[in-house]
Symmetry: C2
Subunit: 437 residues, 2 copies
């Protein structure tokens, strides 16, 4: 990456470094305590669902002929499956409405495969080495689940229309130990890429050496547009069936970032065979779902249009924060060649790229100045960003005031880390720690 720093004379670079250090010292002296680490909704987003806290109401518990208070209905309430089937473009019979956490559903699905295998002749995944493909940058909690099982993660590049299909095709065709792949097909975490229909088709139809290869298709941000309307959700189950791989996709979604973050409803979808396999194992764990919470969601949204109306209210709160972040970055480090960033049309994150070799340093400097960022490298398997250049920004939780302070401060850290790097390069590779402030 060529930067304007590189064109400075030695004396000018010394002055720039001195100036950046002074600005950083002034930043530290402000004693900030800001946190932009995680994609948590802000209190005013949670307020949008305030009515839900009194639902369903003390004489409302029957729907679909079911007393929602008692045990039962492992696949979830038919009314909620129909409502979110429309939102997620999935037939209700292919959609299970579950508990509060889609992450938990992903873990459970993996643990069922691990302990029992995928049914039929397939052995438990634990019986031989397992590898997963991870488009990067990606979601750290996805990677953590698979790492917890001792699964080897293989990073593959995420391009502007989806994961690099040529790289992936070659990998999965040649290695029967590659059993799965993580995908966030709409507004991906953290780079907000939405997969094209062609890439989706290629992923669903490509030849794999493993007969029980599965795509963990986490549609976490399907309706979470920041600009305009969200894209139409692909009917991946129909595509998978068309191309003769009906069992390949495991689809996940949740309302965590629609209603109550800690008390939403998660969804799982798949082929008839996958649903039977999932519910068969789930029946050992649970006697049914929390149907009162599911009823609460039916009453709150009413129908699929209600979900879209509600998501526009989130957009109205979130979009200004994202605009603020990109404006502050432009103001602070724009045109310098030391940083670039995404301008997402949906999802929860801005993906920031700083000078290779400085991301960890930027995060450390920010921490010193009281600004908590997601650890550098967290969007890569094992936390290892080979370029040390990616930083995930999560603008949702702080107030606009705090967010502006945080990003302005972050820019100071980016400039200092860049000046340190170029200075150390100029001085013959002097080690960074020796110029640390």
């Amino acid at each position: 990456m060529s930067t304007s720093l590189h064109s400075l004379a030695d004396r000018e670079l010394d002055a720039e470094l001195t100036q950046c250090r002074a600005e950083f010292d002034a930043l530290k002296a402000r004693g900030l305590a800001l946190d932009i680490t995680r994609g948590k909704p802000a209190p005013d987003q949670l307020d949008l669902s305030a009515a839900m806290l009194a639902l369903p109401g003390d004489d409302d518990y029957m729907i679909d002929g079911i007393d929602c208070r008692n045990y039962g209905e492992l696949a979830g309430l038919p009314s909620l499956r129909a409502l979110f089937g429309e939102v997620l473009n999935i037939a209700p019979e292919s959609l299970v409405a579950g508990g509060t956490s889609s992450l938990e559903t992903m873990y459970d699905v993996l643990s069922f495969a691990w302990i029992h295998g995928m049914g039929g002749a397939g052995a438990p995944w634990s019986s031989s080495p397992v590898k997963f493909l991870c488009p990067v940058p990606g979601y750290d909690r996805h990677f953590a689940i698979t790492e917890a099982f001792g699964i080897e993660l293989i990073a593959v590049p995420l391009l502007s229309d989806g994961p690099d299909i040529d790289v992936i095709r070659e990998l999965v065709a040649g290695d029967p130990h590659i059993k799965g792949m993580w995908c966030v097909p709409i507004y991906s975490n953290p780079s907000a890429v939405t997969y094209s229909e062609q890439i989706a088709r290629d992923l669903l139809s490509m030849q794999t050496a493993a007969p029980d290869f599965r795509i963990f298709w986490d549609n976490a941000y399907a309706v979470h547009a920041l600009v305009g309307d969200a894209p139409e959700v692909l009917d991946v189950l129909a595509i998978a069936a068309q191309v003769g791989e009906p069992d390949r996709p495991f689809v996940f979604a949740s309302t965590s970032k629609m209603t109550i973050a800690g008390g939403g409803v998660s969804f799982f979808a798949g082929s008839g065979e996958n649903i039977a396999w999932y519910l068969g194992h789930l029946s050992q764990k649970r006697v049914g779902q929390d149907k009162i919470n599911q009823l609460r969601h039916v009453r709150f949204f009413g129908d699929a249009a209600g979900v879209r109306t509600h998501m526009r209210k989130h957009q109205q709160i979130l979009a200004p924060k994202f605009e603020l972040v990109t404006a502050a970055l432009r103001r602070g480090v724009g045109g310098s060649g030391i940083a670039s960033w995404t301008d997402p049309s949906g999802g929860y994150f801005v993906n920031l790229k700083v000078l290779p070799g400085t991301a960890r340093r930027v995060v450390a400097l920010a921490k010193e100045a009281g600004i908590a960022l997601t650890p550098a490298g967290s969007a890569f398997p094992s936390g290892n960003d080979p370029q040390d250049s990616h930083i995930r920004l999560a603008p949702s939780l702080p107030s606009e005031h705090d967010l502006r302070l945080a990003i302005d401060g972050l820019c100071t850290c980016i400039r200092l880390a860049a000046a340190e790097l170029v200075h150390s390069e100029r001085c013959g590779g002097m080690h960074l720690s020796s110029v640390s402030v």
Copy 2:
């Protein structure tokens, strides 16, 4: 078992069989459709928690300085842990408040042990054969969880003060593959036995060949008295620490049979080391608990006394149903020597014993007459009751009217099956199927 049937002359026995068949035909002709299979609460029990359906209310979401709506608090709300810590006689810091299903927590704990082992030097349980001890009669869903992992279940007798400790001592001392044991220490399912403190101490302190032996201590009915007050809950964590086996007990409980059956709160308790181990693995699955549902429970109960008051209301609904069952059994098959049953002071079940070799037949006859019973043998590992004599009755769900019909009909089936058996024995072991009606 000696019965009055055995003292009948051949002609009298023929007449008895004819009479029983006639009564059974009349029963069938009534076209009943009754279900006493599972321990589900009745609608009027669920009505006791009607106020909960509108809680916490649309401006109530803060407690303990926590916004219950957002992510976080993997160990659950401090206020709820304190409240149920008092109910369950467990220090709040040793108690985790979780999701809606304690069965799920048990499955998760087992899967963590299976995949990762118990921490320290211990290997994953999946790496060698695992056996569990199962006091019988016991809870079919416990057995099903362990069977789903391919764990070998070893039945041990449940006596009137707890599991047969002599049998257990010898088994666990000699076999390092015995890694765990299922226990329901208060009002056990289905025989309503409450373990004595001595048996509890012996279980917690006995020598085991497996260094990572764990007791799955499911306190499902801790406060579920049918007569008077529930016994004081033993502080098993303190006992375990005293005897030098702090990590042996995994304690489980839930509010499923207190508030909303499908939407309660589950609890997990253990030593500091076990809690750290559990939360460490759980953190891969979840970003926090459903704290709104936990807040709902805090607001509804208020304090531990509120739980006790609430459970007395359940008692007032349930006790008459249990009295009705035992009265109907006395009336229908009392003094005949062909059946005996428990008269439980707590829990959710009556454990019925019929003539050895007739339990399956009784359940089949009842089914034919439109009365659904828990499958015979379900209280034994692999559904195999070696004596074929146990039937679990679940009186909670039906109305008193339906329950009376069901038990009266059941008595007809018990009498017919007994008459068939004695008749076939008298006729030189003629096979049962040839005398089936």
